[in-house]
Symmetry: C2
Subunit: 348 residues, 2 copies
Amino acid sequence: MLELYKAIADCDSNQRNMVATVIDGEALGQKALFSDEMLICETKESGYFSGHAETIWNMASDKDQCRKGLITLDGRRIYCDWLGQEIHLVICGAGHVSIPVIQIGLMMGCEVTVLEDRPQFADNARRAGATTVICEPFEQGLSQVEGGSNTYFVIVTRGHRYDQTCLDLIARKNHAYIGMIGSRARVAKVKETALLNGCDKAVLDQLYSPIGLNINAETPVEIGVAIMAEIIEVKNRKMRSSGYSKDILHAILKPEEKSGRKVLVTIVARKGSAPRDVGTKMLVTPEGRCIGTIGGGCMESEVLQIAFQMLHSEREKSRLFHVDMTGADAEEEGMVCGGVIDVLLEVI
Amino acid sequence: MLELYKAIADCDSNQRNMVATVIDGEALGQKALFSDEMLICETKESGYFSGHAETIWNMASDKDQCRKGLITLDGRRIYCDWLGQEIHLVICGAGHVSIPVIQIGLMMGCEVTVLEDRPQFADNARRAGATTVICEPFEQGLSQVEGGSNTYFVIVTRGHRYDQTCLDLIARKNHAYIGMIGSRARVAKVKETALLNGCDKAVLDQLYSPIGLNINAETPVEIGVAIMAEIIEVKNRKMRSSGYSKDILHAILKPEEKSGRKVLVTIVARKGSAPRDVGTKMLVTPEGRCIGTIGGGCMESEVLQIAFQMLHSEREKSRLFHVDMTGADAEEEGMVCGGVIDVLLEVI
């Protein structure tokens, strides 16, 4: 089982990665990791997936067959969890707008890389908590940034000639988003030059500029909120992915805790309104510590109790639990929503 | 002069407050504070405003006559600065969504009050840095919150019966914004009950719910960003106000610094694109410390040099400085924008 989570932690975020879990019948809890159509690893007891790898991959990739992450194969429901949640935010420039973007990015759990050639400003980015700060001319800095399908580039340098350098290089990298600050007129000029410099027109047409949602943002913090709101919007427009947070994987895999059993809780189905969506995960330790949340409130407490029962039972390894938040009871208990969710609990 | 800033710091944020400053001619730098049509205080040397108080108030209040904060009276240009920038954010509930709202609110310089009846959750709000946390049942908590034209209410409690309590009370308070979390169906029910409980229909029709801009936010932090983006959008839709930040007023008024001269820099006019808008302020101390920013870059350095000259001159108290960011020089210096701004520098 741990091997599988190790494979999940190690998988290449530039590939398409998916974890499939059987959520009913005898095979309840059987799991496999797929990367770019290939079956990489499955839970030992299983063997189930190797016979159906291609079928499962194809069904999971098809929006019509895979609704909200669920497919049905031979009467079994399989929850297909597309990985790739972690955003890599690459910010060119560490001026006034950059700082709130760094801060909100970190709140969201992004990896944040900042490029800035002025040492003082680079220090501001470090103080704001950026994961990596590269204090070199933008050209050299960007040669160290790889890009990828989860990389979001924010160009907020102090002047358009630096923006030009950055855009020319970034447009050639794999990316999920490129946003650039500046007035319409200046942005048009930079784009025009980028085209002459050989950048792909299709990429330039996709440039988010003026950067950020139009909320009449004025101060640097307001512009930072507008930029991050736009990035969230772009991210969530794609095939909904949830995956495993770094914190959860770390808690599962760190050596000192390997011996302690834990329960991984995943929302695998949702009807109506619920605080969190399918794919949301929470890890419960025997001491009652929770990493992540499936929505809080009484619903979460109820799930926690089951998790504790499972931690103290030797037999039960997986359970699918149905939470109904529609009735009068839920109302009385002050639950927030009116939906129904299925929660998968797995002892690890 | 300090008296005027003291009056600005003390003025009632439930009234409409405006600072008028003459920005050219012999009266350059003459200033007055108005509250609800009344002239409250003017710079001693002046006497100018008392003769024209009503006219100036009326012109400043008229969107056609007061464009971007400027009016012209007898050939003099007067910059009219509407106060009321500081947002009071009142958050009901200290659960998962509340925390990022608190954090981003603090980044924006808001005063943040959190109401929560569960001590553990109230502690989370304290740790997140909330200005005030009231740990009492919502009914009692809200009786201690006054409301006002700059108060933004965010209702994100753990259940709809608490939301109901909060909405019933908040709808009766003066406010700039009320947002409430929850599914459409549940929100409709809470609104219906609020109407039966005697709340004003017009207020309920203005309720922002589902709360937050629609960016498909999923995680608590994403929902927090969506909520703050909505609040910024609502705030900036109103008559643009800028005013004086607490930090700037504090630095002007704190006793230990009273003796030291400082320069207040204000953007009073803008054409074309510039990093910051009219009303943006920066205070420069003799040691070269800046509180606030008028946009950074070379333009700001140039303004700083003039501020230092003025600090060392006994004669010059005010100067209007014109910054042109359109030319080839600006391009060469890497300035971000292509606009023209007028900056007022005042020795205090």
